[in-house]
Symmetry: C2
Amino acid sequence: MSDTKRVTAAVLVIGNEILSGRTHDSNIPYLGTELNLLGIQMREARVVADTESEIIETVNALRAKYDYVFTTGGIGPTHDDITSACIAKAFGQKLIRNPEAERLLRERMAKMEVEVTEARLKMAETPEFAELVHNPVSGAPGFRVENVYVMAGIPRVMQAMFEGIKDQLEGGVTLESVTVGSYVPEGSIASELGLLQDAYPDMDIGSYPFFFDSKPGTNLVLRGPDTEQLNEAAAKLGDLIRTLGQQPVEGGIEVPKSDS
Amino acid sequence: MSDTKRVTAAVLVIGNEILSGRTHDSNIPYLGTELNLLGIQMREARVVADTESEIIETVNALRAKYDYVFTTGGIGPTHDDITSACIAKAFGQKLIRNPEAERLLRERMAKMEVEVTEARLKMAETPEFAELVHNPVSGAPGFRVENVYVMAGIPRVMQAMFEGIKDQLEGGVTLESVTVGSYVPEGSIASELGLLQDAYPDMDIGSYPFFFDSKPGTNLVLRGPDTEQLNEAAAKLGDLIRTLGQQPVEGGIEVPKSDS
């Protein structure tokens, strides 16, 4: 794979509980971080309800647009778990009881001494031409169809599934990042920052203002494929911050979530 | 407004930092919860990068589909703050320096004794026919164009802005929710749950499995407009859980985030 190829991904979080505010999603930031380490850039994330038409439409939009799509949620045994059926419809494939998934589930149920119910066997359903994604935590597998990976919603289970598939993902260029923080307010550094961005078009310079300890400040995150260039730009930023009468803080200034 | 009208909303979170995993979004759950209290259901949330075409396309898709759209992020003074310009383009309006916004900003800058810079005045730019959204925390206003509310990304600022606009939002039917938790695994209650859902079509029964303290369990969330019906269904669920040899826990069982 080329050193400069950009590989993209989208995440689709499926579940009413995220939209109602009941559950705080942590799969988006987890996957954003992990994919980035593999040289895959998450370009979009969506959260949709447990509604068939929404899931099908969204999966089809995302899989056409990005190299990879990762879905989380909706693959359990209950009536509101409709992801597998929707993915089958999105790909125009039959939903089948996957023999290998059924074998894994029956093995697990025997080991856990739980009853084999129709509801539990529903978790063995996949689109006809799906490849299973191993679930070392709770047994019921996820699956892949073409460029779409279907995973559990429970973060611990999703993360274990992702660990199992990440070696088969093809990454592109890996982006490094360098963060420089200071108590320079965003508005005092903004125009120089724009010039710096113009000087380094391969780099993405993000500016994250905060109010902390009654003082405004800014964390500046430089992201790009070339470490040497990142360090050079970070040094220039440090000088700029000093000329504005403040001290640059390598790695950024940590502030509470509600303030940044 | 009718008692049974469903009013819908979508949230659009704008910012590379959410997609890279650097920043964990908390605006989606906040708005999901707050809108629900107003009788407005958040039906979808999206996170997109600081990319003009993505923002414009997404705003136009969402504003056509939902009663309200709330955007967060990208309205600061730096080069990567392009939300206002994108909203103007999405509506086919000119981007202007809004006189009232400029007055507010200059007043604030004088009070805070910070320099009036071109970058800071960029925060006074809005689409031509925008109505300002007051920012009591840091001065720079958000704005509304038709059914799209444009707010800051910093949660504390966004929340203060939302407090200021929520009286002007027209809600529909308010959904109440009742949660019943137990150490009954999802697969043991799934089919009865499906029957209960069929018996109460106006209600949305969500099933949220967890593994906690080495035991599998499930929190069941009943949501709907009719409190009496919710309590009736919750009582039936309680009975069901007892026949399965477990105790129902009103309000649900609290489990760590990574396990649910």
